[in-house]
Amino acid sequence: MTTRLDRRQFILFASLLLLIVLVFAGMGSAYAVRMLVEASCFAVIALGLTIQWGYAGLFNAGVMGFIALGGYMAVLFSYPVNAAFWNSQGPAALLGVAGRLLLGIVSIVLLRQVHRIGVGRHWRNVLLTLAVIATYLTFLTAINPAADLIEGQAGFIGGLGLPVGLGWLMGGLAAAAVGYWIGRICLGLRSDYLAIATLGIAEIIKAFLKNADWLTHGTLTVSPLPWPVPTPGEIGFVGARSAFLALMVVLIAVIYMLLQRAYQSPWGRIIRAIRDNETAAAAMGKDVNRRRLQIFVLGSLLMGIGGAALVSFSRIFDPSGFIPLHHTFLLWVMVILGGAGNNLGTLFGAVLVYIIWVMSEPATLLVFDFIRETGSQWFDWVAPADLDSRALQMRVFIIGLTITLVLRFAPKGVIPEEVVRH
């Protein structure tokens, strides 16, 4: 695929640039740069989603979970060490829990082999089930006192104080691990099952991060998170955010180049062949499920990295701040509006949709203020007290409407995937 910009794309990107300039002029450069950094974090996540959905047709309805997990790993690895925890009895208690868990796992592994000493398969399964339940219950009864101990003595376990970049990488790897596990279960089945399962895992990851106070500080939130570049306190808002933006641009450029290469490679062709006609691809001897698993894991990796960057940039880790609308469906709009399967289109969609999303908040409030005014002047209508919070729910409606309209009228997005003929 050539990266030559044709006229249509030139106009689209020129208007996007104009929009950005307008934001700079209207809202000041500190605000605008912050918006751009967030948009670039979303762009990394959107690239992950576009290879899952656009390259391979895999439906991930739980992007939020991968973002949250990536974000937490950034906290775990890069947040400063909590000395109170390491000096308390916490580590010993955790070690005890880990020991019991290990004992349980070892016994399960050994029990898997008991058929060798003459125990029937049926009895082996019964024993295994009992062992799994016993391990789980032991773990459950052991973890609560340990968690209470840590929460009481040190708040939470803190971070490891390692470089931020390592935290981002680990965020990507953790998300990829979850993606691998989910993919192994669901990818042999139809896409709907993957959608249901990812929706569930996202909510479970969020529930875990929110409730495991000893590990994540839960709803008490963790802040301030370190940055990979000098922080605003050192060199001022605009400078620090610009440095972060520069880092993100480099990251996106590297990811973009790698993805373009992958798309054009034989591997990319196999992926698209599977997406377009699974039966034919399987008949050609391609291992459909394996390729799908690869792409799902790769996409999850990018989502984890993007999520880690997003959380690092916001400087605060708040598990209740992850909401499906903002962290899953907004990304869907970015990808399908920009052009699924086209990396350039996805980047365009990410930046455009994020700007519209950010600007829509004051715009909605303005519109509803107007409705309230005219309603009370002309019709004696008394607006409900919570009109403002209701007004913001209109954004939910707009996101939903955009998804359905784009799917119906422009299923390929504004910058469609270029089909290359060899």
Binding site: R190, A195, I204, I399
Partner: protein, 334 residues
């Protein structure tokens, strides 16, 4: 024995109640899955919309139920079901039919249904706000405390009027649906179409009507589930997302396309949830005398803490997808 009554209150009665709600939702999901071949993610919001129809009617006629001796919300249920059925048909007409005619992949339909779900959520919250509401405006919720005629039991069996209505109504609905699906021409047409849509079409079945019929049933049942659940607990605009996973789990456990499997799956998921969050120490404590001394009964011994209730349907779903993707009753794998 008192502990057993406590167990019955916490597990058996609430398991039946929540299972009935899941059952009515799962039947709709499984029918849409079997006939239109996509996972309908807007189903939870269809429930919310149905519940709000009934709520609006209750606000308009707050005393309608008193003359019949039933909660007003329940009296308004048939009307709300009809309205939601029409609403579901309108949704199909507006959003799904065109996509179907374009012959898109099923997964695109799934996405469109998520779009529809978000739109419904936005609308409900715009008109009704985000606070939770109670259906009991002019009346109060009747709670029966039944003293059991066995000596030594002081604790009473607690059951609320909505719970009784919920179980009775769902049994009724399921029976009617059974006869509809097995005896009527429509039911046969639906089953034929779920087995093989093309074959059904060439044998002269009007597939368009079957699709509409599916939406009518799914919409009406979703409304019933939504109304009865909100009568029992309260009407929350954001209840849909928490219902979606258990309902899908129930439909898949029972085997997609099999309404009776969906019912069985729904009760299974419902009971699994209540059993998992139940504090087993309550039952174990009286046994402490017989247990060996080294076993110490913790204050709280639940399989799953309440905050992680959602993991139960998810776990069931994963187990079924790994070992038996066709579901327990050999449904379809789409």
């Amino acid at each position: 024995m008192n502990k057993l009554v406590f167990f019955a209150n916490k597990v058996v009665i609430s398991g039946f109640a929540i299972g009935s709600v899941y059952a009515m939702g799962a039947i709709g999901v499984t029918l849409v899955f079997a006939i239109l071949r996509f996972a309908h993610f807007a189903h939870g919001d269809l429930m919310t919309v149905g519940a709000f129809f009934a709520y609006a009617l209750t606000v308009l006629f707050p005393t309608a139920g008193a003359s019949l001796g039933l909660p007003t919300g329940f009296v308004m249920l048939p009307l709300a079901m009809a309205m939601t059925a029409l609403f579901a048909m309108a949704l199909d007409r507006l959003f799904y039919r065109k996509l179907r005619a374009n012959g898109v992949k099923p997964v695109v339909m799934v996405m469109a249904s998520i779009g529809v779900a978000l739109m419904l959520q936005g609308l409900v919250r715009l008109f009704a706000g985000t606070a939770s509401r109670s259906f009991f405006i002019a009346e109060h919720k009747e709670i029966f405390r039944i003293a059991l005629p066995i000596e030594g039991i002081t604790r009473k069996l607690v059951i609320t009027e909505p719970q009784i209505l919920l179980v009775v109504f769902s049994v009724l609905v399921v029976t009617v649906l059974h006869f509809f699906l097995t005896r009527s021409r429509f039911g046969k047409a639906m089953r034929a179409m779920s087995d093989n849509a093309d074959l059904a079409r060439v044998s002269g079945i009007n597939t368009q009507t079957v699709v509409m019929m599916t939406w009518v049933i799914a919409g009406a049942l979703a409304a019933a589930a939504g109304v009865l659940l909100s009568l029992d607990v309260s009407l929350k605009p954001d209840m849909s997302f928490n219902l979606l996973l258990p309902i899908f789990a129930a439909a898949i456990v029972g085997g997609v396309g099999s309404p009776f499997g969906a019912i069985a799956g729904a009760y299974m998921v419902g009971f699994a949830e209540t059993l998992a969050v139940f504090n087993w120490s309550v039952l174990l404590r009286p046994l402490a005398g017989w247990l060996p001394a080294w076993i110490e009964i913790p204050v709280k011994l639940a399989f799953v803490p309440t905050e992680y209730k959602l993991t139960v349907p998810f776990f069931i779903l994963v187990v079924v997808l790994i070992w038996r993707p066709t579901g327990m009753f050999r449904g379809k794998v789409l």
